[in-house]
Each structure stands twice: as C-alpha cells, then as structure tokens.
C-alpha cells in the first residue's frame, strides 16, 4: 500500500511548500509513489485522514493553530517540520523578542479582533517532532531525500555540520577572509549548497545553528570587522532567532557584552 502524506501550513510565507510545488516532473513521480491526502495548495483537502508522514510548514501563533497541530500530530506517523518557521519560529519569531501586542496595536486599528498568541513558536514547542528540516526555505533535494529515507523506513542522516564545510566542498572562496564580510557560515548548518558565499556575500544563517556553534568567537571576529555589538546580535537574531543557540548568542551580544 502506498504511504500517505499530508502537507500542512501554518503561519509562513508558503515558500517551503514550494519545495514540493516546484518539483516539476518529480511532483508527478512523487504522486505515483505516495498518496497525498492533504495539501491545500495543491488541491488535496482531506485534512483528517491519518497519514504516515506529515510535513508541517509554518510557525504556531494562535490558539487555533495550537489545536490544529495537536490534531495533526495525533493522526500522523512521522511528523516532519519543514523550514525555519516550523522548526524555529521563522522570521516572524522576532516578535517574541518584543512586546507583540503593542506592535499589533501599532499596526492596526482594532487589534481586539485578532486571535494571535503573543509569540510565533516552533512546532516542537507543542508536539513531538520526528524530524526537523531546517532552512528558509528548505531545499527540494533535502526534502526528497527525507521522503525517500522515510519511505525506506529510516530517518535521514542528521545534517548538523557547519556551512563552511559545504562552502569548501563547493570550492567557494571565503568571503570573510577576502572581503571581511561577516559570514555566519561557521555557526550555520549546511544544506543550502553554500549559495551566499558562492554569490560573494556573507551567509545570513537561514539554515539555523550548526552543531557546537561558537557564537562568542564569531561575534568577536565580527567586531574585529567593524560591527557593533548590536549589529552582531542582529546577525543571530534574524531568521532563526528562536533557535536556542542563536537566541542565546544574540541576547548576549544585544546586552552589549559577550
């Protein structure tokens, strides 16, 4: 029997679902391989049928979201978070650092009607997650490799190594060394293909923290390149600001000392 999958969206930009929708012919091949029972954007609307694998995009930020993610967890075999929003809150988790209700009042007239939690949180804060796919957005290759592994009945190998390793495998020239760019590669998870360094610019950590990230040493290096402590902090408090290692490093730098 074909494995059944579902793709569920929460608060996000939709970009990670595109890892499926941009597959081209492979999307048709995937459809042969599995039964997609829920994927609203692609037209599959059966949200309550149990699935073997649930792919979840987006962060959780309302009471309704919270209930929905629990329902999804209950009917799913493996639950996979797809992308920075689902895995670490995403860019919108920046609100967690501020007084979000004041912000809301600021941007529109009748904030009372909003059903919004104060925070945008990763899925794992509410339910158990079997596999986290980092990245903003996730990469299609990464996603397909996960699908394949799960169909083989195993989890894909963890990818926690630093971007620098991928950068060197791609034979990109280090932008920190040649241009003094404050590159986040040394604390960031690989997986994107080191696109930023290959485009001659600093990595901005959209894949989240790597294993043993040394935020102090990197931050000091950034200071050496002319960044102020709060500028260092902002590099950590960006797309994956709610990931522990980045939150911690960012707050340390924000407080002005390392």
């Amino acid at each position: 029997m074909k494995a059944r999958i579902g793709v569920y969206k929460f608060s996000s930009c939709d970009g990670c679902q595109l890892a499926f929708l941009n597959l081209g012919e492979t999307l048709l091949a995937l459809d042969e391989l599995v039964e997609i029972s829920y994927f609203a954007e692609a037209g599959m609307m059966d949200e309550d049928t149990p699935v073997d694998i649930a792919f979840v995009e987006g962060s959780i930020s309302t009471a309704a979201d919270r209930e929905r993610i629990r329902r999804i967890r209950d009917h799913s075999g493996r639950l996979v978070t797809m992308g920075a929003c689902a895995t670490a809150g995403g860019l919108q988790a920046l609100r967690n650092l501020a007084d979000a209700s004041a912000w809301l009042a600021d941007v529109y007239a009748t904030p009372e009607v909003l059903d919004s939690l104060d925070q945008a949180l990763p899925v794992a804060e509410f339910v158990e997650v079997d596999l986290e796919l980092w990245g903003c957005p996730v990469d299609s290759r990464q996603l397909l490799a996960a699908v394949r592994s799960l169909l083989f009945g195993v989890l894909p190998p963890p990818q926690r190594e630093k971007l620098c390793l991928e950068c060197k495998r791609q034979q990109a020239v280090c932008v920190m060394v040649t241009k003094g760019e404050p590159c986040m590669g040394p604390v960031t998870r690989s997986g994107c293909g080191a696109i930023c360094p290959r485009f001659g610019r600093a990595c901005y950590a959209c894949y989240g923290p790597a294993e043993s990230p040394n935020g102090s040493a990197l931050g000091r290096r950034f200071e050496g390149l002319g960044l102020l402590p709060e500028q260092v902090a902002r590099r950590f408090l960006f797309i994956n600001s709610h990931a522990d290692a980045f939150l911690e490093a960012g707050q340390r730098w924000m407080s002005g000392h390392d």
Partner: protein
C-alpha cells in the same frame, strides 16, 4: 582477497531475534566465486550496506571454519541498524569485507584463555569461542565473563549454559541491575575477577565491550598479573571506508579499521581511557 571497494551482494538466509533489540542475520554471498574465496579471521568485521540507506561496520560472529555462512549479530541503535533489523530471509544487502586484524588465535595454544565481554561485546568473540570449543584440547582453562547492564539484556543464555558444561570452562555472568530469576552476580564485570580460576600470568585475554568497561577491566587484570601483550581489546570508532582512507577511526597513529579493531593493550596503552582521543 575479496573486493574491498564495491559491495558484494549477499542474501539473508536466516534471521533470529535474540532480544527485543538484538537480532542475528545469517548471510550468504550470492556469487559462488565470491563465496568460495571468502575467508575471515575471528575478530574481523564486514561493512554491511543497507540499500539506499548506508553502510555500517559489523563484526563477523559466525564460525570461521564455515565462512560460507556469515553471521552478524546486531543491536538496533540507529538508522542503518534499525533498517537492517527489518530485513527478512531472502532480502538482499551489500557486504564489503572482511576487514581488519582479528584476535591472536595463534597465541592461544596451550594457554589459559580469558574472554571478557560487556553489552553486545560478545558478538566479536563468538567465532573465537566457536573455535575454542571445537578444538577444546588445544587450550588450557577457559573462562568466559559477560557483563550486561540489565539482566534482561543477556542473550544466548543457553549457549552460556552449554559452554559451562564443558570441562575446565568457567562461565561467569554479571548484571549491573538484576531482574528476577537472575543467578549471576550483581555488579560490574570486574567483580567477577575474584572468582577467576585461571592463571593470569599464563593467559591470553580477549575483551570487547564499552570502552569504560574495557579500561576498568584491563587495569584490574594488569594488577592481577596479566601481561600488557596478553590482553587484547576490540576497539570501536566511527568508520566510513574501512580501508584506512576516511580518517574517522584514527586512534593516535592507528587506524582502527586497518591496524585493529583488535589491539594488544601495550599498543594502545598510552591512549586508552584518555578523553577525547
């Protein structure tokens, strides 16, 4: 010599569930020429390749005198081992091997033999025991010591009983935590050394299991008179290639896959038990 670079195809002939997480696979090489050529020494290992998932090093624990059947006892701990656990007779997988240096079988003649294992550590010494038992007269006293975390982890109880019935053969079991119906000792495997009935000065020890256990046990044996060249240990490190190229299994100047996995204590004494090496 069999092919090292590319796996050979093997078939699962038999699968036995030894405990909730431990299983044994009997494998047979599909190609006859490969089957005929394949020989291994006790203590060597194969790289088992689970299709589409990856390769892992697994000791060969069958009888070296019957290399046509390759037996592997595996604990389900992660990706590859978890996938291997689901294989059934008739399923195919890849195999590269055998690799490494095994136990010093040639040094055992006429000596006392001590086997100390912890956890699943007994798998790599099974072929040794098979040979000891078949040619029992070549060796003097034999002691087999096995320690487990919990008494329920012990597999192969019948085999231990069987070995215990042989002449001049001591079988001692210890569990850190004992469940009901446990007749062995309670504590670390080293607590069994008290009861050893062999002459450590004229013995050869073969040991495998978790590193802290091996460290404690070898230190104790040395104190009790065993020689640094007479304690042999099977070491474990991450292995990718098994041919000494990938660098993962380096242990000081050694490549465990190539120079080991079995080492005499003296060769690794300087590193043994050191953190982070």
């Amino acid at each position: 010599m069999t092919e090292r670079g590319i796996p050979m195809q093997v078939e699962v002939v038999e699968r036995v569930q030894e405990s909730p997480t431990v299983f044994t696979l009997q494998l047979r090489l599909i190609e006859e020429a490969q089957r005929d050529a394949y020989r291994f020494d006790p203590g060597q290992f194969n790289m088992l390749y689970l299709y589409g998932v990856g390769e892992v090093p697994i000791s060969i624990d069958g009888d070296p005198d019957r290399p046509e059947l390759l037996q592997h006892t595996i604990r389900e701990v992660g990706r590859v081992s978890g996938g291997l656990a689901r294989l059934q007779p008739g399923d195919r997988l890849g195999l590269r091997g055998p690799f490494g240096r095994g136990w010093p079988m040639e040094r055992l003649d006429g000596r006392d033999v001590l086997i100390v294992t912890g956890g699943l550590g007994c798998a790599p010494v099974l072929p040794v025991i098979a040979r000891l038992m078949r040619q029992r007269e070549r060796y003097r006293r034999v002691a087999i010591l096995q320690g487990v975390k919990h008494s329920d982890d012990l597999i192969w109880r019948e085999r231990y009983d069987e070995w215990a019935r042989l002449p001049d053969t001591q079988v001692l079991l210890a569990a850190d935590v004992a469940g009901p119906q446990w007749h062995g000792a309670v504590g670390l495997v080293t607590t069994l050394f008290e009861r050893l009935d062999i002459d450590l000065a004229n013995s050869t020890t073969m040991m495998c299991g978790p590193e802290p256990m091996m460290v404690a046990a070898s230190r104790e044996l040395l104190q009790r008179g065993a020689g640094e060249d007479d304690i042999w240990l099977s070491m474990e490190r991450n292995m990718q290639c098994a041919v000494g190229h990938c660098g993962h299994c380096q242990y000081g100047e050694k490549f465990i896959c190539r120079d080991g996995p079995v080492f005499p204590y003296r060769e690794i004494a300087a590193l043994f038990g050191q953190r982070g090496v």
